[in-house]
Symmetry: D2
Subunit: 329 residues, 4 copies
């Protein structure tokens, strides 16, 4: 915890967009304005920080965005920010603009980058976990996770209709490069016959056996939910592995990669409330003199976690849910 005078803060989003980022921006801006702080929106994340793409914000700037997906401040990749020169330019811009502190909304890449900036240039940053992957330590849920989950589940419900109509096997790939949070919850919520996640070994033999026994016994459809970061490399790879086995010749197998639709859409109630709490909480943390922390919600309460821990510590899935998924399918 550091002490710092606060008169003007910057807010930005970075990394993959997540539904609820706008609700978070809105809460941060309104909470700051209520305390008499000036607020600068930094557009396109670190790229905009380097280019000085700044916009003054007030209560009205964030009207009517609570329910919108995406991020009005936009996001972008920035190779230049990976260099010390890029970060120096960004820090200079922040100083020139009179920005005392930052609210950074994004995933682990965003928080890591902000930590470099903080360390090298003494910039005060508080982070908000904004990523559909739910893979940040220090918060029970990240902004966007609940919405992405419901979008994926809605698609799985639709696929179930067509799978049932044709007694097909569907391999549905959902997001989750390193974690199975979306896949696991979708699997239970969608009644999937099998869920494949990065946290568990993918034993192709066992998968085949399970599918064949299900399809044989019940002569019906099966849905396998696959996290994109599954060991074998996603739904298409699983399909290839299955197709090498002649036992699967008779099984009408289809792949559906849900992809980018999981990022968009109006946030759910839960994501809007979470994002509102976190956005306001980040400003409150700054006001209380905190820096280098991410604000999260743990067991219902706001909690600060040192930035570094958010990516270095592993947030684990609930293995009871893995068992439950197998028991109920």
């Amino acid at each position: 915890m550091t002490s710092h005078e606060l008169t003007r803060i910057g807010v930005f989003t970075s990394g993959g967009d997540a539904p609820g980022m706008n609700a978070c921006i809105r809460a941060a801006v309104r909470r700051a304005v209520a305390e008499g702080l000036g607020v600068v929106g930094i557009r396109r994340g670190y790229a905009g920080m380097i280019e000085g793409d700044f916009v003054e914000m007030d209560r009205q700037s964030v009207s009517n965005i609570l329910q919108q997906g995406g991020t009005i401040l936009k996001s972008a990749r920035s190779d230049e920010f990976r260099t010390p020169e890029g970060r120096a330019k960004a820090a200079a811009n922040l100083r020139a603009e009179g920005i005392d502190a930052l609210v950074a909304i994004g995933g682990d890449g965003t928080l890591q980058a902000s930590t470099h900036l903080a360390t090298e240039h003494d910039v005060v940053v508080v982070g908000c976990p904004g990523t559909i992957d739910n893979d940040l330590f220090g918060t029970d849920e990240t902004i966007g996770f609940d919405t992405a989950l419901n979008t994926a589940l809605d698609s799985i419900d639709k696929i179930r209709d067509t799978a049932d109509a044709h007694d097909r096997l569907f391999l549905v790939e959902v997001m989750g490069r390193d974690t199975g949070f979306i896949a696991l919850a979708c699997g239970i919520g969608g009644g999937a016959e099998l869920v494949l996640i990065p946290e568990m070994l993918t034993d192709v033999g066992a998968i085949k056996e399970r599918i064949l026994s299900l399809m044989a016994a019940q002569s019906r459809s099966s849905i396998v939910v696959v996290a994109e970061g599954d060991e074998l490399g996603g739904a298409h790879m699983i399909r290839e592995a299955l197709s090498e086995d002649p036992a699967f010749d008779q099984i009408d197998t289809r792949v559906s990669v849900l992809g980018h639709i999981q990022r968009g859409g109006s946030p759910t109630a839960r994501d809007r409330v979470l994002a509102s709490r976190l956005g306001a909480g980040a400003v409150e943390a700054l006001l209380e003199g905190h820096a280098g922390v991410m604000v999260g919600v743990v067991n219902g309460d706001l909690k600060l976690t040192p930035m570094r821990n958010t990516w270095s510590r592993k947030k684990t899935i609930d293995y009871d849910l893995v068992q439950l998924s197998a028991l109920l399918s």
Copy 2:
């Protein structure tokens, strides 16, 4: 905790239906079948228990219901069950059917009634919190709450469109007879200008002042979310109170009572996972010899709470959210 031999259990839903009840039934049935237990579905709650409206259930009986709103076992009111004779008849039917224990899915009325049955006739019961109102102590969320919340919020988003188009004041009544859980989350999630809940005093003067200042300053729409159990008695009563003030003559005020649509619909991902955990958890509690408890999820973990506490102890809203709602609107 009592000890009891378990070979055959009964499952039923009672009270107001809630999205996710089917997912809970499915999980209880499949979890029980996996342990070699017989399962009897009791139709129409306590009414069916008295009439012996029983149906044998297996894994297939609960296929394809996970995503459906309502309850396949139906629910009903039973005045007869309020009498000792009614409960005696119910207990006799259970014995005759060879039912050793019950999984009761419903709200506080359901759990209270089951406690009478347990006390008077030594029936083993474990409860699952199924009610959109989220007003049971012993679980962070009840089955159906998240879905009802999203349904209400979706309606509020739609009303915002028309409120904005006409610069109108809308009083939107959501469910919550004794508690403001839905109203409060909807208020934050929908960006409501004001939220009126049973837990807070309703000062008509303050309400008027707030609305008038908002409408004057910004010449725009306002949405007030009112819990049905608000002190004044719901949205229509608020409107009446406002209309007595000539200052409101110029304000185009409309009432929208969302009503029963909040009970239906396909459950959200969160409700499906919660209901699956609780249904399976209830059976596990029975297997471990528990009785007279409700299974809930507290801080992410399954937890048993003595039945009586679930309604006698007050589950409180998060007053930080009340403040947040006021700050952000």
Copy 3:
């Protein structure tokens, strides 16, 4: 058909808002800009016309509104416009602003008012049918009808869940003051046991008989869809009429008035395409020298209808659908 030089047009929405109005505004603006015309947005309908509440519009002004409910130009009632003085003021403002012609988007009230303006002050107007009620002659569907229908149907699906769970009778009131278009399509689409619409006599005796026979025979839920403009006066009145009969004492009857949620929400694909065609079509009609007409889609093609006919001629429901509804329920 009159001839007129066209360099600058005004666009406005009036009356009850309808989903798709923004798509219509967008199409009119972009179509006009593509022809080199200037475009002025008139805010809050006729009220804004009298107050000179004008805003210059270009392609960018209508970016990202296609999918939004409500109307960015807002709508309002104007008592002043009902007076010759009010209309004279409006006409003077239009002349002062250099507006040669108007695209009026709204329902019958909007088109009637614009006809007064046209007649008295020689203002060139082409209308677009924007109302969820679908009650304008000269177009197979009005902008917003399809969305309102799907919103109402989604609510009826939800109510079906809870009606089934409790074997209840639900009286669901949908919009339609003078016409049963929404009610009839909702009734067929929702599998309603009965549909009551303004176009048909409401014989309370026959209604009772039908409901009693359904509930008796099948001991299940029933849904009666009631247009707000039903002869008896809506769902609450029907309920009262039923409650006077002791035969209904045993039937758990509930009323749900869907109300304003039917006006909002993101427009359906059909409404977006329709609104885009009509907005562009209105500008094309102006370019071709037409005036005093409404542009509609009849049997798939754009068609112009003299303004007066749109409200003086009666658009009839399809009586085959009434029969179909009865046959299938």
Copy 4:
């Protein structure tokens, strides 16, 4: 038109499933039952016809399916039915079951197959157009088209959120092997910058130029909607073609193939009404002695078209919509 005694009909679905097929089955069954006809459900299309997979149906068999996607009668491919022997077996089964006539619900493959059966074995068939592709001559819309369109559009709206957040170019592939109905309506409804359909030549040079000029001028996101049957071969092929041009090195381009989610889901109001009309209409056509025809809705009215015309004649897209799409984007 042939004359035939009618006492017992068969109903089946075949080919790709489409939302609304269940509503069509329900209407056909209930309409037939109301006329005193017996109804046999043939499961899994022609495969079930050959295997004698028949199920007796009555009013209750089709309760509560109106709102469900997929088809309760299931669908399947049948290579055996492509042989004269297979069809002979099917015809024998129909005779043995006492089935006088068939209602065939499906796309062009289904109708062609039924025509072979009719020709070779004098089986009376009336068809209902059930396919999301909308590519059958003789009906303005096919069952499932409106739902698929709205599902695709909802995905495009979500993709727009993330495209905007990152200023990306998205190539979104929607269904439509031979026709651009879905793509074109989605393009207009989603405000796509470009729509590529099988009916139009795909000039890669022109595409590149258009995209580059859009992205340069406005430095913003672009969405290109591609029908799967586009000349170049879908979104992935387009991407490859673009990536060969160094001008696209700077443009962050993503592909999203919506795939099977377009087949499922609860049907829209429009699809439910259409399917109900067609299912009932097919039975009425049989009752009136028709055979070898498909029932469609043309300009709002039921219309019979000789089976052969439904696939041999080309249903054309509305080229005015192609122009409109270009004008408004």
